[in-house]
């Protein structure tokens, strides 16, 4: 080479560059669009294995630029940022933490765990650090918005839809601050920004938080059902039950808020419908082939013939799967709560507790006794529910109120009273129910 003069050398380099470019250009030709198999080899492979940014979700241009600029240093950079985020959390430096999480997801936009971890972190761990309920609500929303952003960029990860639904449904509906959070979900405390309406990023149609959560769960199920896609949260059957659970949550929340009206009746009826006609009729894969939770003898026969297993096996697996998702409990509960008598009983007990708090003990006692009697009558038809935690705890709590009135009024507790069997059978549970009772009456 040294024998060549400078000009020849340059020409040779140039020729080499052109020569090497040909395969690169050929292999790297961009895809012509939606058409499958168009473009160079690399584009074809990308579309075949769903590796292209655009096939994963909406492309964030800044994130793509960042990853390109960092070349191979992305791993190092994201590790540094994760450390920084931890440190900022320890020092309660929330603004920086939020900005750092934003940078992390720029670097790892398609890493499911990052979205899950940080979204959860914001909605649960950061929010609880703030003393003002309004601030806590702000951070719960931040967590949900973060996950929503994750969904936008990763349309094929059902887990992220599920998390968003879970935060909107369960975090808002089940925290200690649920009364505030549920109210804020309808009318945001940041009145200046949202004019007394909901935060339209999360709740554009001003719906109940459980119902918005339900929409997310439905979307999660829709994505999960696509071929080649799976969720990593739990057993598939349990995952698919969430839209119905959101409906249960909604119906229960209405009761907790003292709404015993047409709306709550419809909510419970729909819960029953969703549980038995929608979720209950889905086919779930089990070691004994496909099963249907709400199956008729014909279903069993058909499925066992199709899968080539005995009817006995089919029935055994159906039973086992019903146990796993407490199918029969939820079905009975929804049936019970859909009855007018149940609503009456719940209303009387709720009102009785209210009177108790207002120290109107005579009225309280009358309503509680009425409610207890109705409740007992109702349970005659739902024997299986008598052993369920939720029913037992409800009964014990009501009895505690009722007994406490006797204490206050210095009256003898009669030998027989409605729901007495719960009190006699579940003495051991009093220890765990009593603190809740104390808390309820103290507030």
């Amino acid at each position: 080479m040294n024998n060549l003069d400078s000009r020849t050398r340059k020409l040779l380099y140039f020729g080499g560059i052109i020569l090497l470019s040909i395969p690169i250009i050929y292999l790297g030709r961009p895809s012509a669009g939606m058409e499958q198999g168009s473009g160079g080899k690399l584009a074809q492979l990308r579309s075949e294995y769903d590796l292209g940014e655009s096939t994963l979700g909406q492309v964030d241009p800044s994130s793509a630029t960042m990853n390109l600029v960092l070349l191979g240093m992305r791993g190092v950079a994201s590790s540094v940022l994760w450390n920084q985020a931890n440190e900022e959390q320890e020092n309660k430096n929330w603004a920086s933490l939020r900005a750092t999480t934003q940078s992390i997801i720029k670097l790892q936009p398609h890493f499911r765990k990052v979205w899950e971890f940080q979204g959860w972190n914001l909605a649960y761990n950061v929010s609880k650090e703030w003393d003002d309920v309004r601030d806590r609500y702000y951070w719960v929303k931040e967590g949900a918005k973060f996950l929503k952003d994750g969904v936008r960029q990763n349309e094929n990860i059902p887990d992220l839809y599920w998390y968003t639904g879970f935060i909107l449904g369960n975090k808002i509906g089940n925290s200690d601050e649920w009364k505030y959070f549920r109210k804020y979900f309808i009318s945001d405390p940041d009145v200046k920004k949202w004019n007394g309406g909901p935060d339209s990023d999360l709740n554009p149609n001003r719906l109940d938080n459980y119902l918005v959560g339900q929409i997310w769960f439905y979307d999660a199920n829709k994505v999960e059902a696509l071929p080649g896609i799976e969720q990593h949260r739990m057993q598939q059957m349990l995952f698919r039950a969430y839209p119905s659970h959101a409906q249960f949550g909604y119906a229960q929340a209405l009761y907790k808020e003292g709404q015993f009206n047409e709306q709550s009746r419809e909510a419970w009826e729909l819960a029953y419908e969703l549980w038995t006609r929608e979720f209950g009729r889905e086919e779930h894969e089990s070691p004994g082939g496909f099963i249907i939770l709400e199956s008729t003898p014909e279903d069993i026969k058909r499925l066992s013939e199709r899968d080539g297993v005995s009817e006995e096996t089919k029935r055994r697996w159906t039973n086992s799967y019903q146990d796993r998702c407490q199918y029969r409990f939820w079905r009975s509960l929804a049936a019970l709560e859909s009855e007018d008598l149940a609503r009456e009983a719940r209303r009387n007990i709720y009102d009785g507790k209210q009177f108790y708090r207002d120290q109107k003990f005579r009225e309280s006692q009358r309503l509680l006794e009425l409610g207890m009697e109705q409740f007992e009558r109702l349970l005659l038809d739902y024997d299986s529910l008598k052993g369920e935690d939720q029913i037992i705890e409800d009964a014990l709590m009501t009895i505690l109120y009722w007994k406490s009135i006797h204490d206050v009024r210095d009256e003898e507790i009669p030998a027989e009273y409605p729901l007495k069997q719960f009190f006699d059978q579940h003495q051991s549970r009093m220890e765990s129910v009593e603190p809740f009772f104390r808390r309820e009456i103290e507030n």
């Binding site: 800044s62 929330w94 003393d131």
Partner: protein, 554 residues
């Protein structure tokens, strides 16, 4: 703020510098003398003194004209080396930065800090490599290309080469910092929405007090309770007990008052950023509507102003602690207070009655709610003087960055007088990493805060898979001999650590990003002294290295 600014103690700092420098200088002179005597024989000693004399003449007899000539050549050379291309990188960064930062946080008082941190960090990251590479490669390249030969044969002193180089590179560094800081400033102004800018783009000027605590029995204690935070910066006091946090502010007077826009009176403004810790959730089971009622749900604190000289204690109204928000307390000039014993209501004058004759004010703080805790550190309650414009704090931060750039240049030029370019770069990079990332670790280790961290002790422990947390009595690594050897090493490291500047001193980002003015005594002066402290030693080292260096050795 989650750090505690401490004022510099000037006499102590100067004494420490003088001692360290004196010891190092004396040690070098003695070692050089011994070497000269040992290696040079009879001629060695006179030559030693010749060099010293020449050194003094070169130092004090520098010609400004020649220094400036070398500086101007250095500037030209830097431009020729396409140094200013750094602006292209800078421009690209700022063109796209908005994508990453805007909307990252909707909370307005938090938005500013993200933007300011970004600007200051990126300027530092842009300037540092420029300063590092320029200064470390200048002289070695001159030697390699033999251009230095033509210079040293002229009547140019080597001290002038060193100083000229430093000044030349500094001019380039200054230019780069100046342009970037102005662009950064305009960028911040443009990024922050105008309605936020007015309220948030300020520099608060705080007066901090001294904090002490009383425990729940009312006995003095040196710190508050820890409620389980990993970060032990704040101490907590328990509500409805005798626990108190007591601040003593000094130098207050008429001039500390400012106009309260609500009352149009001159009042004392205090700001607090304390934190709440709950042992029970409080009344959140019943919905309340109004923001006053919401406020009532928060933990409350109360301030009592005390003047022991006049035996006065005046309670102020209780106030809610809104965590992580700006909480302001306006203390009016005239305060009415009811005496707890006599039930007599009297009006007191803040300046006349409550601030003591020496200008000090004692502020006692208690947590009102029983079973709950409020946590505080010294900077969590301060008197706020009238604000300065944002530019004041921003450009002070830039001044800090500029000083850092100069120090890097000075050290780079010094290193380049005795090693080649790549080695000088690595050397300075290591010093920089030690002086930034590992500064805390180094300080902790030398101060003995890290348990069982001796060189040999931990070495043996690594080999034998020992546990540094528990330790094993009677083992080799914990024997007295090993400890003594380690002590010797630590002593040596302590001395050597003085050669590593704490580059964090030059970063005032935390002040500017949090909307504070950069204080003179606790931030600017320590940085100025750090820079000045390194100038003379670096010059001497650089000058003698270049003077005694064999220029033919490439």
């Amino acid at each position: 703020m989650d750090f505690d600014p401490e004022d510099i103690n000037i006499p102590e700092s100067l004494t420490y510098w003088g001692l360290t420098f004196g010891i190092a200088l004396a040690a070098s002179l003695v070692v050089a003398f011994l070497l000269a005597a040992a290696l040079g024989g009879k001629k060695g000693i006179p030559r030693y003194f010749d060099h010293l004399g020449e050194g003094l003449r070169d130092t004090f007899g520098m010609s400004l004209r020649r220094v400036m000539a070398i500086s101007s050549l250095t500037v030209k050379e830097s431009i020729r080396k396409k140094t200013l291309l750094v602006f292209v990188v800078f421009a690209i960064l700022f063109m796209f930065a908005g994508w990453f930062l805007s909307g990252a946080n909707a909370n307005k008082d938090l938005q500013l800090s993200v933007h300011v941190s970004f600007v200051l960090t990126s300027i530092a990251w842009m300037v540092f490599p420029v300063a590092l590479l320029l200064s470390c490669w200048g002289i070695p390249e001159d030697i390699r290309l033999r251009s230095l030969h033509t210079v040293v044969t002229k009547p140019v002193k080597r001290s002038e080469i060193v100083v000229g180089r430093v000044i030349g590179f500094s001019l380039v560094g200054t230019f780069v910092v100046a342009v970037m800081s102005i662009v950064g400033y305009i960028w911040i102004l443009r990024q922050i929405p105008p309605e936020i800018a007015k309220a948030e783009l300020i520099s608060r000027v705080p007066i901090y007090g001294h904090l002490s605590y009383l425990d729940r029995q009312g006995q003095p204690t040196n710190k508050g309770l820890n409620t389980g935070d990993i970060n032990e910066f704040r101490g907590y006091i328990e509500g409805a007990t005798k626990a108190r946090a007591i601040w003593k502010f000094e130098n207050l007077g008429e001039s500390s008052l400012r106009l309260n826009p609500a009352t149009q009176e001159k009042e004392l403004l205090m700001e607090n950023s304390m934190q709440s810790f709950r042992t029970h959730k409080g009344g959140i089971d019943d919905l309340v509507e109004s923001s006053e009622e919401m406020e009532a749900l928060l933990l409350h604190g109360q301030i009592v102003l005390e003047n022991p000289e006049k035996n006065l204690r005046v309670s102020l109204p209780q106030f809610a602690i809104r965590e992580f928000h700006q909480n302001l307390n306006w203390i009016p000039r005239k305060i009415s207070s009811t005496d707890e014993e006599t039930q007599e209501t009297k009006t007191y004058d803040l300046i006349e009655d409550l601030i003591q004759d020496d200008g000090s004010l004692i502020v006692e703080f208690r947590c009102v709610d029983a079973g709950q805790y409020i946590g505080m550190a010294r900077p969590d309650l301060f008197v706020r003087l009238p604000e300065k414009p944002f530019a004041s704090s921003y450009f002070k931060s830039i001044f800090g960055l500029w000083m850092m750039t100069i120090l890097v240049i000075v050290m780079g030029v010094t290193a380049s007088t005795f090693v080649k370019g790549p080695v000088a770069t690595l050397l300075l990079l290591s010093v920089f990493l030690m002086g930034t990332l590992f500064q805390h670790f180094m300080e902790d280790m030398l101060a003995g805060n890290l348990k069982r961290s001796g060189l040999f002790e931990s070495g043996i422990r690594i080999l034998t898979h020992g546990n540094p947390e528990v330790g094993k009595e009677g083992s080799i690594e914990e024997s007295a001999a090993i400890k003594r050897i380690d002590q010797g090493f630590t002593g040596f490291l302590k001395l050597a650590s003085n050669a590593v500047p704490n580059f964090n001193t030059f970063s005032f980002k935390a002040y500017t990003a949090n909307g504070f003015d950069v204080p003179l005594r606790s931030a600017i002066l320590p940085a100025v002294f750090s820079l000045l402290g390194f100038l003379l030693p670096c010059f001497l080292l650089g000058y003698f290295s270049l003077k005694l260096r064999e220029l033919e050795a490439k």
